[in-house]
């Protein structure tokens, strides 16, 4: 019986539910010292002096470093030339959170005391806290290498003035995609131990091999003596792909002090230090006809990169603009983007990374077209969908050739769960009764570019390559170990990969282990990001498992004196097809696979062991259709989500329970962006939401339950047919929520509301309408 598609309980859970998980901060090796940071309290300031003398005089303090102590080290990797992010900044602090000193002490408390005792003398400089300020004439500049604050500008890829001039109707929309903090519940944590035999770094990280390669190059040491371990990781959401400066500082301090050095970020630090996500502004123009058919689209994206442009962060608007047409066949699309620096926390990947911004934009555009034409939003979507038989579909972007999908099918499936006519009737009835809350119904038909990816796709973001490694090794007793480079942080990879391997190998799921996260155990790997673990890494497990199984069949055939083609496996027994009595157990085959005398001619011992570097020819394109129903309190402006209907198409489902979990989590973050979360700065660049008291990560009472449905179109780029699902919810949910909010208020002439749709914003609209 196939395990693909089965609800299998997670192998990960027994440790995690009993407190036996191992997160980096749980490690406390002998001699472990503790690092703490001193961070700029100023958005932009010249650093006149950093006085560490008081800190150094505290008993138990082992080191207090400023920029001069790391003068021989490079800047943070993944920086841009001339705009490097120093590990410790020496001359100028460029955002609140910029590291100006680090201290190390024998215990956690003394380290905190020492950090507090460091005195920094700042001379404030004028700052730019927003895109508007950064792009103003004569704006204060952050990096002298730039003319102004624009790092890169791509003008419109095409001139569409003729299309717009000829169009029956046009409309425009300005959108802000609010800056979000990723907030994994485990912040950045690192433990570095640099001994005579080399450097070992335990890090809460999504891509340990990427870190290994980078940290070795950073220190000019050899990769063979550099080991990175990502043990259990408490969430990442894209933010733990970034090379946090603290990782390199802890390693440098461990080398200097000859003892392990641990750094555990506090949450308040994490809010300003861990790179943020989103932070885009869009200007969109759309040309369409009276039927709601879209004729042309112009999208201009301005990306806030924060104080130091990160190589990954620079790619966000590339992805946004590549996906700007969503799941629609739009004859003409022109895109433009600009990357801008501001005196704020750097911006890089956060769940979806550039793609939620695109789906939000195009789905808002669809509802705007519906509003302008009076055509129902469902019909506008159906009018413009790429048809189910329209694949492969070359988008306006050379990066994206959609290979599969059935967008109308997903929307139809959604409408089986949603009684749309009844909701419309209820909406009208409520609108007529001023004592009732307003009702809003919002849809999103979304698609995303996932499954990173085809050759070149991750190299563009500084990774070694875009394959994923998988090794399948059968032990002498017939159990199997899978080694994957796709190091997880909550995805359930240990379970899904064992399911995939069990199917291919015919070995019991309970006798398959999956190892990950340790570069000494798994020599090469890429990592878990961009919804790639199953679509690339899982496919690799399948490929490697198939190779091992073919070899096992050869051995079984030899032992059974049968031909290989007649060998089948059932209940961990190989037998000759049609002759069940003629059989040999997997354990025997495994045992003998190590015994040269038992092997067929030409076969090496230990051959039930295969490593692949799995490549895929294209990205994957998960898609779906969501519907959100909101109620709005007319007096307070409070929005409550009453229903959230979710139809996902992630291709083949390996484990429905885990797919549901990924969708729910992504949707929760999407709702959070739409209604709650917004990393805000005041006009001077001081963050206003730098703790979890002010930055509103929603709790259980704040989020709705979900109704889930599914459609399946297979991913043609792998044999599993799986597309990935990690980012889907965060791509699909925000537009559904905001479309619902706007729908509830559209009778007041409301065309758009920026996220998050806070009660005060909505009350202002409601008040204005009276």
């Amino acid at each position: 019986m196939s395990l693909i598609g089965a609800k299998v309980l997670r192998k990960e859970d027994p440790n995690l539910i009993t407190g036996q998980g191992l997160y980096v901060d749980d490690l406390q090796p002998a001699g472990c010292a503790f690092m703490a940071t001193v961070r700029s309290t100023q958005p932009h300031a010249r650093i006149v002096a950093v006085d560490t003398s008081a800190a150094r005089s505290i008993d138990g303090v082992l080191a207090a470093w400023t920029a001069t102590d790391i003068a021989n080290l490079p800047a943070r990797p993944s920086s841009l030339p001339g705009m490097d992010m120093p590990l410790i900044t020496g001359d100028v602090a460029r955002f609140v959170g910029d590291i100006v000193a680090v201290v190390v002490a024998a215990d956690r408390s003394t380290a905190a005391d020492a950090a507090e005792a460091v005195i920094v003398d700042y001379e404030p400089l004028p700052a730019v806290a927003s895109l508007g300020q950064a792009l103003a004439t004569d704006a204060p500049m952050i990096h002298p290498v730039l003319q102004g604050n624009t790092v890169f500008f791509q003008d419109y890829t095409e001139d569409l003035s003729a299309e717009f001039a000829a169009a029956p109707r046009t409309a425009s929309l300005s959108l802000v995609n609010n800056r979000c903090a990723p907030v994994p519940i485990e912040p950045n944590v690192v433990l570095a131990d640099w001994g005579p035999a080399g450097l070992t770094v335990w890090a809460a990280f999504q891509a340990p091999h990427h870190l290994r390669n980078t940290i070795a190059a950073f220190f000019g040491i050899s990769q063979d003596t550099t080991r990175v371990i990502a043990p259990d990781v408490g969430g990442g959401f894209g933010a733990k792909i970034n090379f946090a400066s603290e990782i390199f500082l802890a390693a440098a301090l461990s080398r200097a002090l000859s003892r392990p050095v641990k750094y555990t970020q506090t949450r308040s630090e994490c809010m300003v230090a861990m790179f943020h996500g989103r932070a885009q502004e869009h200007k969109v123009d759309v040309a369409f006809d009276d039927s709601g058919k879209i004729l042309a689209l112009k999208v201009q994206v301005t990306q806030d990169q924060g104080a130091y442009p990160d190589a990954t962060g620079m790619g966000l608007p590339v992805l946004t603009t590549a996906m700007s047409a969503g799941c629609y066949k739009i004859p003409k699309v022109a895109v433009s983007w600009r990357n801008v620096v501001t005196n704020t926390t750097p911006v890089a990947a956060y769940r979806g990374a550039g793609r939620p911004e695109a789906s939000y934009m195009i789905e808002r555009v669809i509802d705007l077209v519906a509003d302008e034409t009076g055509v129902d939003p469902i019909e506008v979507r159906k009018t413009n969908f790429i048809p189910a038989d329209g694949f492969p579909y070359q988008t306006h972007s050379p990066l994206a050739v959609y290979d599969s999908g059935n967008f109308a099918g997903a929307l139809d499936e959604l409408l089986r769960h949603v009684d749309y006519p009844a909701l419309k009737a209820e909406q009208a009835a409520r609108m007529a009764d001023p004592t009732e809350k307003l009702l809003g119904i919002g849809f999103s038909s979304w698609l995303e570019i996932a499954g990173f990816g085809p050759p070149g796709s991750l190299e563009a973001f500084g990774h070694l390559a875009s394959w994923e490694s998988a090794q399948v090794r059968v032990q002498p007793d017939g159990s199997a170990i899978i080694y994957t480079g796709a190091s997880p942080h909550g995805q359930g990879t240990v379970t899904t990969f064992a399911q995939i391997a069990a199917d291919q190998l015919g070995i019991d799921f309970d006798r398959i282990s999956v190892r990950h996260g340790d570069t000494a155990v798994i020599p090469q790997g890429i990592g878990t990001m961009g919804s790639r673990a199953v679509a690339v890494g899982g496919e690799g497990v399948k490929t490697a498992s198939t190779r091992v199984f073919e070899r096992a069949k050869k051995i079984a055939a030899h032992l059974l004196e049968a031909t290989e083609d007649d060998i089948v496996v059932e209940n961990e027994e190989f037998h000759v097809r049609g002759t069940p009595s003629k059989s040999v157990p997997w354990s025997q085959v495994a045992w003998k696979s190590f015994q040269p005398l038992e092997l067929p001619a030409g076969m090496e011992p230990g051959s039930l062991d295969a490593t692949v570097f799995q490549q895929v020819p294209n990205f994957s394109f998960p898609s779906g259709a969501y519907c959100c129903v909101v109620e709005i309190d007319r007096e307070t402006g409070e929005v409550e989500i009453r229903n959230m209907y979710l139809v996902d198409d992630c291709g083949t489902v390996i484990n429905p329970m885990l797919v549901e979990g990924q969708v729910h989590g992504g949707v929760a973050q999407g709702i959070a962006q739409a209604l709650y979360e917004h990393m805000q700065y005041d006009e001077s660049g001081v963050p206003r939401t730098a703790t979890l008291m002010d930055y509103l990560v929603p709790a259980a009472p704040d989020l709705p339950g979900y109704v889930s449905g599914r459609t399946v179109t297979l991913n043609p780029s792998n044999t599993l047919g799986a597309k990935g699902v990690g980012e889907s919810g965060s791509v699909g949910a925000p537009p559904a929520v905001i479309n619902a909010v706007v729908d509830a208020l559209s009778h007041l002439g409301v065309k758009h509301i920026d996220m998050p749709a806070t009660p005060q914003k909505i009350w202002s609209i409601l008040r204005g309408s009276k």
């Binding site: 008081a54 994994p184 259980a700």
Partner: protein
């Protein structure tokens, strides 16, 4: 600052039925006492403003955020952590099993605190409805699940043994 004298104080806490007695600085938070003195690292720290609840333990059977309690405040009291709620022979408590059955966890970092908050809930209210479950968990943040599967986990536990027993 280096001249401030350090007075330590002896703190004795019954953790999961076993006495842990250590000399600590009075400023030692209970969560650090549990993680570093008792070496029970199942209790996690996720924030510094008492919002996230990852550090939730039971003090004398009631849920508390151990990052907001000084170790000295727990002196002489009983503390139960996630390591203490199983059946003692490697088996899971109904709440732990509910989290496993209903996929109430992903990265697992908030999970120990969630399990302790849910254990406290079911001790007080063995048959909570969905609204009561969500309200009871308002002090615990999860970034992975979106909470619905956690609600189901509690419901599973409620129909399969409830809060369970612990030391």
């Amino acid at each position: 600052m280096s001249t401030i004298e350090t007075h330590t104080t002896r703190v004795t806490v019954t953790v999961n039925g076993r006495e842990v007695s250590e000399e600590v600085e009075p400023r030692t938070l209970l969560v650090h006492f549990l993680r570093e003195q008792a070496r029970l690292t199942g209790t996690h720290v996720g924030c510094d403003t008492s919002n996230c609840g990852a550090c939730t333990v039971l003090i004398d059977g009631e849920a508390a955020k151990s990052c907001t309690v000084l170790a000295v405040q727990a002196n002489g009291h009983k503390v139960t952590t996630v390591e203490g709620v199983g059946n003692g022979s490697g088996g899971f408590s109904p709440v732990q099993e509910g989290f496993r059955q209903e996929h109430g966890l992903q990265c697992g970092y908030c999970t120990p605190g969630m399990i302790m908050a849910c254990t406290a809930l079911l001790t007080e209210n063995p048959k909570p409805n969905e609204h009561e479950i969500r309200e009871a968990l308002e002090g615990n943040l999860c970034r992975c699940t979106g909470y619905e599967t956690i609600v189901r986990a509690v419901q599973w536990a409620a129909t399969n043994g409830g809060a369970g027993e612990w030391a």
